[in-house]
């Protein structure tokens, strides 16, 4: 069975591209021969039922699967044409270029300021207090959090509300100036109002960064993304423009999923 890829994807400038990527946990194959191009300027959404492998595949894009001892990746994943799994690849540099936001907000148990300053400090992106202050302010502004926290930057990041924590995590990812931001179901632990804010934020970040978002909510995928990939049982079933996938899917299984027949 071959992935159906819509032919009208005119974007040639793929930021990341995967070719025949399979992921194994021990002997179990979690991802089967996935090939996809992630465009530079758009938001790409991965949808599919629970356990279909969309989060697993997302984590291969910045090698976060390396932290799981039994995980093994086959195939090629390129970032700007460079194989990120080649030997000698600096994972630290890769993750500075491909940032990640997790399902559950995970701010460090430090002050709001320290949470944002963490990345620039470890990568030496800011010299001196003034520059660091500027990076922190810029990142918080981009994440739409500055007005809410500017008077309490020294408070603990864990004291914020869930939605604010998640925007703090996005600001933290932005602070190291990545090229790609991976988001693993960033709204699944949030209420509808906080979710709306995050979606608004994703819209604003769109164009500045290549964004890949895994989501359970088809409405969310429809709202925020321009490209959608549908995963099922470890395979990528269909990939195309979001509008096409939702209005005119070519595969029966995609049709069934987006009309709520299963999943």
């Amino acid at each position: 069975m071959v992935t159906v890829v819509h032919q009208n994807l005119e974007d040639t400038d793929a930021k990341m591209s995967a070719r025949n990527v399979s992921v194994f946990y021990g002997d179990k194959k979690a991802i089967d021969e996935v090939s996809i191009d992630i465009p530079t300027r758009y938001v790409t959404a991965f949808i599919g039922p629970s356990g279909c492998g969309k989060s697993t595949f997302l984590r291969t894009l910045n090698r976060m699967n390396d932290t799981i001892p039994s995980a093994r990746v086959e195939g090629d994943i390129m970032l700007d044409g460079e194989d990120i799994y080649k030997s000698g690849m600096d994972v630290v540099q890769l993750r500075a270029r491909v940032g990640m936001v997790f399902q559950k907000p995970n701010p460090f148990p430090k002050s709001i300021y320290e949470n944002i300053a963490y990345g620039p400090k470890i990568h030496g992106l800011a010299e001196g207090k003034d520059e660091l202050d500027a990076v922190v302010e810029k990142s918080l502004r981009r994440a739409g959090l500055w007005e809410e926290v500017k008077d309490r930057l020294q408070d603990s990041g864990t004291a914020l509300s869930g939605g604010q924590q998640q925007r703090l995590c996005i600001a933290r990812a932005i602070a190291v100036d990545p090229e790609v931001i991976l988001m693993d179901e960033p709204c699944s632990a949030l209420d509808p109002i906080a979710t709306a804010k995050i979606e608004e934020l994703i819209d604003e970040l769109n164009g500045r960064y290549a964004i890949v978002i895994v989501t359970h909510s088809m409405q969310q995928a429809a709202r925020v993304s321009q490209r959608t990939a549908f995963f099922h049982l470890g395979k990528m079933v269909e990939y195309g423009r979001t509008s096409d996938i939702f209005t005119n899917p070519l595969e029966q299984r995609t049709q069934d999923y987006i009309t709520g027949r299963y999943g």
Binding site: N62, M64, T67, P69, V92, Q93, L94, R95, A96, G99, M100, F102, K104, N106, P107, F108, P109, K110, Y118, G119, I122, H123, S156, T158, C169, R172, A173, V176
Partner: protein, 461 residues
């Protein structure tokens, strides 16, 4: 012997009550229209059994405290009592001998007078034995009957049993607290006696330690009871030298085991490290005295020391530090491992190296547990006795040179209590004052540790 019989009796009766109550609950169950009871039959059974066993246990406890006194009283009522010495050591010996023969613990008496008391003892013992058994039976019967009569189909036996069990659990946790309070009170009492003889200021701030157990107890030389050299020795060996060894090694091993070690390797190393905590301290003492101390002495000679002591603070401190490593590493290991994986992922996803993640995220988040481990280790090191007894000497030196011999509070407590002085001599009583100081310091350390942890903790949830 008699308490054992009473306890077995109580258990037997309890079992009987258990079976009877369960059988009765089953008849309720058969009789009830829908075959349901407010509580399961086994709860009815336990309710009755507890009502039999617990009152008997209370009685046996009280009885074994009272009965010997009653026995002695009735023996003293016998005609031969007039010949006894009025009081004191000899009188007690005679009575004890007679008692030992009466219970069969020994065959013959040395003191001819004791023979007179064997028969009265035997009679009194058997008399009170029977009273004890009879009272046990009555109490068990009353408790059993009362509780058995309360059983009804809608009786809430389960809630009652749970309440009784909760009370038992509460009692169990109170034992430890009450013991601590008891220790504290007895320490205070003896310490006050000591401070009645020696000026507390001389004790706490004096710099010369050399109590003489043979001196006149009524007029002690306060200047010989200056405990500063002991406090310094304790601090130097337990809190400085030992911690310089234990904290870095313990922390590093915890970091290695949680973050770098292969799971299979970890499965071997962690238990092995924890075995270190189970080695008796006497064995460490041998090691310190026979291996480390001579090595350090040779080292001191090679450095040019003219006449180094064969017992050095360094030897005791180093070995103690090694002994403490498992405490630090095991607590640090647990608290680092308890930091959520999300923290680690978050840091790694920022492009932090494992090393940066450990230093900047994991250790700060695990700090409360690490500090707690270190405080526990310091308390343990300060209270440690055997290693310093064997490796550090009993000479009280006030010195900052780790190659000198030194002594600690615990060593002096042992020396004073096992010395040849009489029990109410200030030299002996000084052991209690030292113990009291040690107790207060440990308490203070724990208190400070709690405050520090509260102030600086980086809560992740």
């Amino acid at each position: 012997m008699s308490p054992t019989i009473l306890l077995l009796l109580a258990l037997g009766l309890g079992l009987a009550g258990w079976l009877a109550a369960r059988a009765r609950a089953w008849t309720f169950r058969k009789a009830s229209p829908d075959g349901r009871l407010a509580s399961l039959p086994s709860y009815h059974a336990w309710y009755v059994a507890l009502w039999i066993i617990l009152p008997v246990l209370v009685f046996v406890g009280a009885w074994s405290a009272i009965a010997p006194g009653l026995v002695t009283q009735s023996v003293l009522a016998s005609p031969a009592a007039d010949q006894l010495p009025a009081f004191g050591f000899q009188r007690q010996t005679i009575l004890n001998e007679a008692r030992a023969v009466a219970t069969g613990a020994s065959q013959a008496v040395f003191n001819p007078l004791a023979k007179e008391f064997v028969e009265p003892y035997r009679q009194a013992l058997s008399f009170y034995n029977w009273i004890g058994i009879a009272a046990t039976l009555v109490i068990a019967f009353l408790g059993g009957a009362w509780s058995f009569l309360r059983l009804k189909p809608d009786f809430a036996a389960r809630t009652r049993v749970e309440r009784i069990v909760m009370a038992i659990l509460l009692g169990a946790s109170l034992v430890a607290i009450l013991t601590t309070i008891g220790i504290f009170v007895s320490l205070i009492f003896e310490t006050m006696r000591f401070f009645g003889m020696v000026n507390p200021l001389d004790f706490l701030f004096g710099t010369h330690w050399g109590p003489d157990p043979m001196s006149n107890p009524d007029n002690p030389d306060s200047s010989r009871y200056g405990a500063i050299p002991l406090f310094w020795g304790t601090l130097f060996i337990g809190a400085i030298i030992a911690m310089i060894v234990a904290i870095p090694l313990g922390l590093m091993s915890a970091v290695y085991l949680t973050q770098y070690a292969d799971p299979r390797l970890r499965a071997w190393i962690k238990p092995t490290l924890e075995i270190l905590a189970g080695v008796p301290t006497v064995v460490y003492g041998y090691f310190a005295a026979l291996t480390i101390a001579p090595a350090i002495r040779d080292f001191a000679i090679s450095l040019g020391a003219s006449n180094p002591s064969s017992e050095s603070a360094l030897a005791a401190g180093l070995v103690m530090g090694v002994m403490i490593i498992p405490f630090v590493s095991s607590m640090a290991d647990d608290s680092i491992a308890a930091v959520p994986q999300a923290m680690r992922d978050g840091s790694l996803a920022m492009g932090a190296t494992t090393n940066e993640t450990i230093r900047r995220v994991l250790v700060p988040a695990a700090l409360p547990g690490i500090v707690a481990g270190v405080m526990l280790a310091i308390s343990r090191a300060i209270g440690e006795t055997m290693i310093v007894v064997m490796a550090a000497s009993t000479a009280a030196n006030l010195s900052a040179n780790p190659l000198d011999s030194m002594t600690t509070v615990t060593v002096q407590i042992v020396a004073m209590l096992t010395g040849e002085g009489s029990f109410d001599h200030p030299a002996t009583l000084s052991a209690f004052a030292l113990g009291f100081v040690l107790f207060m310091v440990t308490l203070g350390l724990n208190f400070i540790a709690l405050r520090v942890v509260k102030r600086f903790r980086e809560a992740y949830e």
